[in-house]
């Protein structure tokens, strides 16, 4: 079960498994962002290229107004996904 919600400190909190069948909801959430945010991956178990695409689109849009997403709490497998895709160079991670 995938979930995306606001955390207590204004961060975006992801949890569960973010596969292609879940990206519509995540896309709507990230599309509504208008300023820099921390995205907490601590409770996210899985992400695929579908999720990477949603995050990249949001990062590109925010960058046009000087904003960005900072990703924290990535597990080893998810960190590998960012590294293999080259997107570890696009996001601030950690």
């Amino acid at each position: 079960m995938f979930d995306i919600r606001w955390g207590d400190h204004g961060e975006v909190v992801l949890s569960g498994r973010w596969d292609a069948s879940q990206s519509g909801r995540a896309e709507a959430f990230f599309h509504a962002l208008s300023e820099s945010k921390i995205v907490d991956f601590s409770a996210l178990e899985y992400i695929s290229s579908s999720g990477l695409g949603v995050l990249l689109v949001a990062q590109k849009r925010l960058a046009k107004s000087g904003g960005s997403l900072r990703l924290v709490g990535l597990n080893k497998h998810i960190a590998d996904v960012f590294r293999y895709s080259g997107l570890d160079q696009v996001f601030e991670i950690g």
Binding site: D19, A20, S21, S49, V54, L56, S85
Partner: protein, 141 residues
């Protein structure tokens, strides 16, 4: 000389993204039955998702279900997806990660096969009689 133990499970899935939940459960079931180290589960689940969603995305009107076959042979785990009545699309062509590309020039898609190619140990493509068959392998040791 002993013959390596070989086990196979196969199942067909409807050509729709909502099949992913069942595909993940199918692979998890195979791992549980064969007591395969769970550190290989992420890469095989991701390979299954990326290859399956590609088949759905590029042949949406095809009425055929997609066959997924998972097996072990010796120290190798093998995942095969078979799609019928489709055009050829060689997923083994190198797709390097777009390192050094400026952010605004990056596309939001196209990472799937790049990830699969880096997360498995082998990848093969076979196309014959409009049957497309993709196999990925992962060493278990």
């Amino acid at each position: 000389m002993p013959v390596p133990r070989q086990l196979t499970m196969q199942k067909t899935f409807k050509r729709e993204i909502t099949s992913l939940e069942g595909i993940f459960a199918f692979i998890q079931d195979f791992f549980d039955r064969e007591r395969i180290d769970s550190r290989h589960l992420y890469s095989m689940s991701l390979a299954a998702e990326e290859l399956f969603t590609n088949m759905v995305k590029y042949n949406p009107g095809n009425a055929n279900d997609i066959l997924i076959d998972v097996s072990t042979a010796g120290d190798q785990l093998r995942l095969t997806l078979t799609d019928l009545d489709v055009d050829s699309f060689d997923v083994t062509q190198a797709r390097p990660a777009p390192r050094g590309v400026p952010l605004q020039d990056l596309r939001g898609g196209g990472f799937g096969l790049c990830l699969v190619q880096q997360m498995v140990d082998g990848m093969a493509y076979d196309y014959e009689g409009r049957r497309s068959m993709v196999t990925v392998t992962k060493k278990l040791r």
